[in-house]
């Protein structure tokens, strides 16, 4: 069943006086099935973040459409966008984006509080998630008191607690050491195994080699895509590396 459908997405940034137009996405189309774990790879400037922002409804495309469960997210009125994000999307960012003013518990509660849930319900949802992510003991600490890995797990908890249709992760391992990164990737696999759709943008071959499918973006277009098939993480790692090398050498698309 198709969860997310991206059709002929275009995005052009204009400079302040509109004289120079810089294309970020020229023509991107792909679909994401429910329960898939998909990674987007590409160099800096390939349009990864623009793509993610558009899917996240944080930015609007110049052309094309994005369908979530068949409904066009671009048609959602501005007023309802925040609620839409809150109810359907879960975010994990490179720099965690936890709020210093809140304890970890309150950071995780944030989207639920915004949705007007009561405290008992919030607590009921938090307990299993915190247990699964191993953050039960640090819930009452503040973001500046815990390590990067712990912060990121807390951010994942915040993304999961609303039971979103899709998790959008932007370089989730970017700010983590290799141990924490490994643990986080294991967590993502685990979450995905329990049926959660994950959409991840990354630089890291290691991170991408955890996904079920890898899309390669270059100059604003989907240049290539890889399916895991029966490959192990290590095997996929190798294939991704080869693809990147080929792309860097200037090979043509063969998707």
């Amino acid at each position: 069943m198709t969860l997310l459908e991206v059709k002929n997405l275009k995005k052009t940034y204009a400079t302040r006086f509109g004289s120079v137009k810089v294309p970020a996405l020229t023509n991107v189309s792909f679909t994401v099935e429910k329960g898939e774990y998909i990674a987007i790879m590409g160099e800096s400037g390939s349009g990864k973040t623009t793509l993610l922002n558009i899917i996240a409804t944080l930015d609007k495309p110049t052309g094309g459409e994005v369908l979530l469960d068949g409904s066009n997210t671009l048609r959602i009125p501005d007023k309802a966008l925040a609620a839409f994000r809150r109810d359907n999307l879960g975010f994990v960012f490179q720099d965690f984006n936890l709020l210093d003013t809140f304890s970890l518990r309150d950071n995780i509660y944030l989207p639920l509080v915004l949705a007007g849930k009561n405290h008992t319900e919030m607590n009921k949802r938090l307990i299993p998630i915190a247990d699964r992510l191993g953050i039960t003991d640090i819930l009452d600490k503040f973001p500046y008191e815990v390590s990067g890995g712990q912060s990121q797990r807390c951010a994942v908890a915040r993304a999961l607690i609303t039971n979103p249709r899709i998790i959008l992760a932007d370089e989730p391992t970017g700010a983590l050491d290799s141990h924490s990164a490994e643990a986080l990737l294991a967590l993502f696999r685990d979450i995905n195994a329990s049926g959660q759709t994950v959409f991840m943008v990354t630089h890291s071959v290691k991170a991408a080699s955890n996904a079920g499918r890898v899309l390669f973006l270059r100059d604003g277009e989907v240049f290539h895509q890889l399916y895991r098939g029966e490959r192990s993480n290590e095997a996929l790692f190798g294939v991704i590396s080869d693809t990147l090398t080929a792309m860097a050498a200037g090979g043509e698309a063969n998707a």
């Binding site: 210093d100 509660y109 915004l114």
Partner: protein, 663 residues
């Protein structure tokens, strides 16, 4: 040559580039420099020194100089530290890019140099332009004709230049020390060092409440004006301490208490504001307390001095009910008739007419009045029970009122103004039964505003003489009247009376030549008195308004800087919230409620302070001979309203800066 110009150019560029921070800083400097110049100018001005009552006025203005000077030092330091905090990143970057600390010191030196140059040039020009205006205002307030001409006071210029060069030097030094102590990484991270959540300090929170409560308690229970003078400072210190503790510790304790109630805390309406306030309180508690205290000071100063000034006329009337007062101590024999006719002749010679006033011989003594019982002990007690008694003999009473009924021996007629006296009065070994209570207290200048209760008793002639005999000071004759005509004619009349009888003493030696004698005779004019009071109260008002403006400017700037810095801090936070699912209107609402609380908390607190201080200030005004409580109520209220309006305006303007920053 290029190398030589490098620092100045870079420094100039930095000032331009950071104008959002630098412009208010330089404006503050210019404004404080101008104000300091004006204050010095007025204190040293020959015209002001030549005014009537100049001594007290110069003292008041000199005090103003010191306050403005001290304030300039403290406030410029405060604004500078804010400026530097915001610029840490930039300076860290210079360091990383290979500039040594010496180079940075060079840039900072030139920045300070330019800032000082602009400040002094603009400040002195502005000060000189405004000084004439301020002189006009001062002259108008103290009802004095305005001296002509425009002058630049070299002394005032010198003082201003010295003070501000000193301040800039100190600021530069503190900045250099700050840089020496820091390493580039901490500089680069600048304001974003992980803020720890404030700890609850129960002891301090409690102390804050106690201190504030103590201050309020003193303000409420103090009855005696003389006690009020001393206790007012105690109360002010307690309230200032209490305010600081309240903002720093108590607020955090309360907010944490709220946060610990999940069902209350976890709602959209309260979740963000409470945590935001908690976070802000740590950074801004001192700033908020400062704003609160400055606001209170402005309110007290302006309302007090305005009230004092507006009440001048009535306090002059209290002290000097008539145009001319002849005060004669211990007149005997025919002294009264002689003086009276001398005064009449002097006035008639000038073609001046006098109208009826008070002509009364009396004895005054002080004591205490408690529960309707008067005791002549403890004449100058410092509490609310002190009272004075004006004692009149029966024949004097008959002469004054034309009444044929007079009190018999052992009886007393009583005029009780605001005093409640029982049915007996005893003083100096004599006791009387009160047989009649009279209306209309005789008008004399014997109305010390510090005395809470005033009594006037009429007793039989024999008793009057008996009390006089055992009393150490003799009876006085109060002879006061109004004159018809213009102010010039009144002055002429006063001069005529003075030359006829004024300031003379007729001793016993001369008594043989004249049939009557007296200890001394003193003539005073109401207009002289009014002028000295106007000069004093006008001086106070001027200072009150001037310092009010200075402190208001300070408040405005603190608010501006706070909004700006908070805007930068909140920008990232609200960006995250937007991603997690907070809509723009919701963000706007959250920001507004937070900003409103932070903004109006100090104002609300200041108004509460004023409300509690009200009674005590009325007591203090009594010391300055102002008895009109409702006038002060009106002044306080209108000052508060005007202040709130200005404050609101500043809020509206700075909130825009904040929103622009956050967006």
């Amino acid at each position: 040559m290029r190398k030589f110009m490098f620092y100045p150019l870079l420094a100039a560029r930095n000032i331009r580039r950071n104008r959002q921070f630098y412009l208010p800083f330089i404006l503050t400097c210019v404004a404080t420099a101008a104000m300091f110049y004006i204050m010095c100018f007025l204190t040293l001005n020959d015209g002001v020194r030549g005014m009537r009552g100049a001594a007290s006025l110069t003292t008041i203005l000199g005090l103003g100089c010191i306050v403005v000077g001290l304030f300039s030092v403290i406030f410029l330091f405060y604004t500078n530290s804010f400026l530097m905090k915001r610029r840490q990143k930039e300076i860290g970057l210079y360091n990383i890019l290979g500039m040594g600390k010496g180079h940075i010191a060079g840039i900072l030196f030139f920045e300070s140099f330019f800032a000082a140059l602009i400040t002094l040039a603009a400040g002195l020009v502005l000060g000189n332009l405004l000084s004439k205006l301020m002189l006009l205002l001062l002259c108008r307030l103290i009802a004095f004709s305005v001296p002509f001409g425009f002058e630049v006071s070299l002394w005032a210029v010198t003082l201003t230049v010295l003070l501000f060069c000193g301040i800039f030097l100190l600021i530069l030094l503190s900045n250099l020390v700050r840089i020496r102590l820091a390493n580039p990484i901490t500089l680069l991270r600048g304001g974003n060092v992980g803020e720890k959540e404030p700890k609850t300090k129960w002891l301090l929170a409690l102390l804050g409440l106690i201190s504030l409560g103590g201050g309020y308690y003193i303000a409420i229970v103090t009855e005696s004006p003389l006690q009020a003078i001393f206790l007012f400072f105690v109360a002010v210190l307690l309230v200032i301490l209490g305010t600081y503790l309240l903002f720093t510790a108590t607020s955090i304790a309360v907010l944490k208490g709220l946060r610990n109630r999940p069902d209350y805390y976890y709602t959209t309406k309260r979740f963000i504001p409470i945590s935001g306030m908690l976070y802000r309180m740590k950074q801004n508690a001192v700033g908020l307390a400062n704003i609160c205290i400055l606001s209170t000071m402005v309110l007290v100063m302006v309302s007090g001095t305005v009230c004092l000034y507006l009440g001048t006329e009535s306090s002059v009337n209290d002290a000097h009910p008539y145009d001319i007062t002849v005060f004669v101590s211990n007149p005997t024999g025919t002294a009264r008739e002689e003086l009276r006719s001398a005064v009449r002749e002097a006035l008639a010679g000038g073609g001046l007419e006098m109208s009826a006033g008070t002509d009364l011989l009396y004895l005054t003594f002080y004591g205490r009045l408690e529960n309707g019982v008067f005791t002549d002990a403890n004449p100058y007690g410092t509490n609310a029970h002190n009272a004075d008694v004006v004692l009149i003999s029966a024949s004097e009473y008959a002469g004054m009122t034309g009444s044929t009924e007079i009190p018999a021996d052992g009886e007393a007629y009583i005029y009780a103004d605001n005093a409640r006296l029982g049915d007996t009065l005893s003083a100096y070994g004599e006791s009387f039964t009160v047989v009649r209570r009279l209306e209309g207290y005789p008008k004399t200048s014997q109305r010390d505003a510090l005395i809470s209760h005033h009594l006037c008793a009429v007793v039989s002639d024999e008793r009057f003489v008996r009390i006089t005999r055992q009393f150490e000071s003799p009876p006085v004759w109060y002879y006061a009247f109004d004159l018809a005509g213009t102010d010039a004619q009144k002055t002429a009349g006063y001069n005529a009376v003075v030359s006829a009888v004024g300031s003379t003493a007729r001793s016993n030696g001369e008594a043989e030549a004249a049939s009557g004698h007296y200890d001394y005779c003193n003539v005073t004019s109401r207009s002289d008195w009014a002028a000295s009071i106007y000069s004093l109260n006008g001086g106070f008002l001027f200072l009150g308004l001037f310092l009010g403006i200075v402190f208001l400017t300070a408040t405005v700037l603190i608010i501006y800087y706070k909004q700006l810095s908070e805007g930068y801090d909140d920008k990232a936070r609200f960006a995250v919230m937007q991603k997690v699912g907070l809509s723009r209107p919701e963000i706007r609402k959250a920001i507004r409620s937070q900003v409103l609380v932070v903004f109006f908390l100090p104002l609300g607190m200041a108004v509460i302070h004023i409300a509690f201080a009200f009674k005590m200030i009325t007591k203090l005004l009594l010391v300055l001979s102002l008895t009109n409580v409702s006038l002060f109520a009106v002044c306080s209220l209108s000052t508060a309203v005007v202040f709130a309006l200005i404050y609101g305006l500043v809020y509206a303007l700075t909130a825009r800066v904040y929103y622009r920053t956050v967006r």
